[in-house]
C-alpha cells in the first residue's frame, strides 16, 4: 500500500524551514527519500533504517519513528535549489521492493 505524504505542496521563502511527512499503514523496515527537480529524474537523498535513527545531509535531515510507522524530512534555511518534488519510498515486511509515496511539491521563492 502506498505511503501517504503531507503536505501535498508547500511554498517557502528562501531561508525558511519545512517539514515533509511520510506515513505508512504497515510496519517499516527502511525509508528512502528522493528529490525530483522539474523535468529530471528522482535523485536519492538518504536512507533511514529501522531503529529510529536520524540522518543529515547538509541542511536536509530526516528522522524515522518505526513505532508510528512514519518518517519526516526536515529542510532548514531553504535555498532556491531545494525546489522540487520530494518522494519517500518505504520497505515493509510484506513488500519485496520500494513503494513510493504520493509526493510533496516544494517551491522556494526569493
Amino acid at each position: 500500500q502506498q505511503p501517504v505524504q503531507s503536505p501535498q505542496a508547500v511554498i517557502l521563502r528562501e531561508g525558511e524551514d519545512a517539514v515533509i511527512n511520510c506515513s505508512s499503514s504497515k510496519a517499516l523496515y527502511s525509508v528512502h527519500w528522493y528529490r525530483q527537480k522539474h523535468g529530471e529524474a528522482p535523485v536519492f537523498l538518504m536512507i533511514l533504517l529501522k531503529g529510529g535513527e536520524q540522518k543529515g545531509h547538509d541542511k536536509i535531515s530526516a528522522s524515522f519513528n518505526e513505532k508510528k510507522q512514519q518518517s519526516s524530512l526536515y529542510l532548514t534555511a531553504s535555498q532556491l535549489s531545494y525546489s522540487g518534488t520530494y518522494f519517500c519510498g518505504t520497505y515493509t515486511g510484506t513488500a519485496s521492493k520500494l513503494t513510493f509515496g504520493t509526493g510533496t511539491r516544494l517551491q522556494v521563492t526569493l
Binding site: Y29, S30, A41, P42, F44, I47, L49, K97, L98, G103
Partner: protein
C-alpha cells in the same frame, strides 16, 4: 561506479505506432531493474520489475510489455501506442538487498503520443 542509461531522451509517436525504450546499466552485475511511468505532475507508477534475465513481474495490466534479454538491459515495448501512454518513463536499478534496496534512476524518456 554504476551508471544507468536510457534512450531515446525524447520521443513523439502517433497513436497506434509501436514503441521500444531501452535501458542499460553499467558497473554492476545482476541488478534488479524497474520501469516506472510518471504522468505530468503526478507520482511514480511502477510498471514492471525484473530480478534476473527473462524474469519480469508486471504491476499494472496494460498494452505495454517488458523484456530483459541481457543481465543489464531492460526494454519497454508496445505494439500499439495509446494517447494515455504519454508520460515520463523512468528506468531504475537496485542491488537487490533485502529491506534496504535503494533504487537509482536513469535520466528518463519523455514520450508524447499524438
Amino acid at each position: 561506479s554504476q551508471t544507468i542509461h536510457q534512450w531515446p531522451a525524447t520521443l513523439v509517436q502517433p497513436v497506434g505506432s509501436p514503441l521500444s525504450l531501452e535501458c542499460t546499466v553499467e558497473g554492476t552485475s545482476n541488478p534488479n531493474l524497474y520501469w516506472y511511468r510518471q504522468a505530468a505532475g503526478r507520482g511514480l507508477q511502477l510498471l514492471f520489475y525484473s530480478v534476473g534475465i527473462g524474469q519480469i513481474s508486471s504491476e499494472v495490466p496494460q498494452n505495454l510489455s517488458a523484456s530483459r534479454p541481457q543481465d543489464r538491459q531492460f526494454i519497454l515495448s508496445s505494439k500499439k501506442l495509446l494517447l494515455s501512454d504519454s508520460g515520463f518513463y523512468l528506468c531504475a536499478w537496485s542491488g537487490g538487498q533485502r529491506f534496504t534496496d535503494t533504487q537509482y534512476f536513469g535520466p528518463g524518456t519523455r514520450l508524447t503520443v499524438l
